[in-house]
């Protein structure tokens, strides 16, 4: 009984220690849920030329930029799944697939090719959002979501460019938040948020 109380962290028992990577995972999950809340409440009202920012995609991209391919794959998939469950026009899993693929691509580039730089985050976010929209529309068309392409090339280009601009704008603060949230995880510490660097800030 005492053991059970301790395990559940009840009064009288000791709280179970969560490892730094575990705490990082919890903070990252909280960041993704917060992004969903903001997306559902605020982002849809911030349309410019008919296009709104996609904060969940930005979280996936921030994960890839700050944490590398492993973070990009997992966080991208989870953020996409949250977006899928909230959206209503496309099947569940389509955004998850898209964000997962793009997260891997961006993360792999970040792991192997691209060095850190001031302009890296917004430029990469812009390019990756364009790629994400293209992948989403192509995959959607393949699985029978033909309405995604019926709007015409002009409308698609407009939505893609505006959404990419939003991503470039939001990627800087979101990736900063991701680096803070992901402190303690191997990927973030290796790429973007080394403890000694963050401690010095």
């Amino acid at each position: 009984m005492v053991t059970a109380d301790r395990r559940r962290g009840r009064p009288g028992g000791h709280r179970r220690a969560v490892s730094p990577p575990g705490r990082a995972r919890l903070r990252i999950a909280a960041l993704a849920v917060l992004a969903l809340l903001v997306q559902a409440t605020v982002a849809a009202d911030l349309r410019v030329a008919g296009a709104a920012p996609d904060l969940l995609l930005v979280v996936g991209l921030a994960a890839a930029i700050r944490g590398g391919a492993a973070h990009g794959v997992v966080v991208g998939f989870a953020a996409g799944l949250l977006g899928d469950l909230y959206a209503s026009g496309t099947p569940v899993g389509l955004e998850a697939l898209t964000f997962c693929l793009v997260g891997y691509g961006v993360g792999a580039l970040r792991d192997n090719v691209l060095p850190a730089g001031r302009l890296l985050t917004p430029v990469l976010a812009f390019a990756a959002t364009v790629a994400a929209v293209v992948v989403f529309v192509v995959l959607g068309d393949l699985v029978g979501q033909h309405q995604l392409v019926l709007a015409g090339r002009g409308a698609l280009v407009r939505v893609t460019l505006v959404e990419a601009a939003w991503s470039a704008l939001l990627a800087v603060p979101v990736s900063w938040a991701y680096a803070r949230a992901g402190r303690g995880s191997a990927g973030v510490d290796r790429l973007g948020g080394r403890p000694e660097v963050l401690a010095a800030r």
Partner: protein
Amino acid sequence: MAVARRSQRTRTLLFALLLVGVTLVTIDSRAAHGGVLGQVRGRLHDGLAPVQSATHAALAPLGNFLTGAADYGSLRAENDRLRRQIAAMQAQSIAAAAATAEAQAIIAGAHLSFVGSIPTVQALVIDQGSSNFDNAITLDKGSADGLAVGQPVVAAGVGGPAGGATPGGLVGSVGAVSAHTATVDLLTDPGAVVGVSLPGANTGTAEGVGPGSPLKVTVISTAAAPPQVHKGDAVATSGLPLERYPAGIPVGTVASVTTSSTNAEPAVTLKPLVDLGRLDVVEVELWSPQTAAGAAPAGTAGP
């Protein structure tokens, strides 16, 4: 060595998640957005509805400002165009009024069975679509308020063509419903099809092409002569048997008519009466083809 191992692990994870994603897409597509995943979606919408209602009301002015700033050039051009149109319309007002009255009389005479007698539920739009590819809106009312999939949705307090006194225009139909929220598939959604009445006792279907684009009208049955459709004509739902909408709901005005030598029927496009990008309050008609049929003597249902 460690880097290679890490890359291999990441690739394995990627393939596993891709497999999960493909499975989810397949399951949800086959369930037509219903099933367990549909229920999860409904619960999530219900949970977020109170927060959305509060923030939407607070942030709508900021959204309108951003939209207005982005559309400034086109609004100015639209203003100039409208001024010229008003001048032209003043000269043609008598003929236009007569034509409009005639069209309305045809529509009214053909189908006036239950417009105005259908009970409605007023609902607040709490989300204009979170995704850029989501051609739907979310309402703050759900099945607990009597809403059901397929019910027609019209905009409240919108004037009809040429300042007419229609009660509003068609917005779309309820596509999914949870206890406290409902998702409305808009008229402009590429999957949306509405049966419409055209002048000269013709009927047709109006199909959505995408947000911001006029509906594409296909004439499906004509009287002896090809339909005489003119720009600005008012078009309403036909309400024919098996249609998803009752008769007489104004849908839009004819935006363009193109005739060709190869096709007897003109190519017609329709501009929705309601600005679907800026909806705040809508009315949901508690109507379905089944309830309309239920008004007829029952007795065939059940063993």
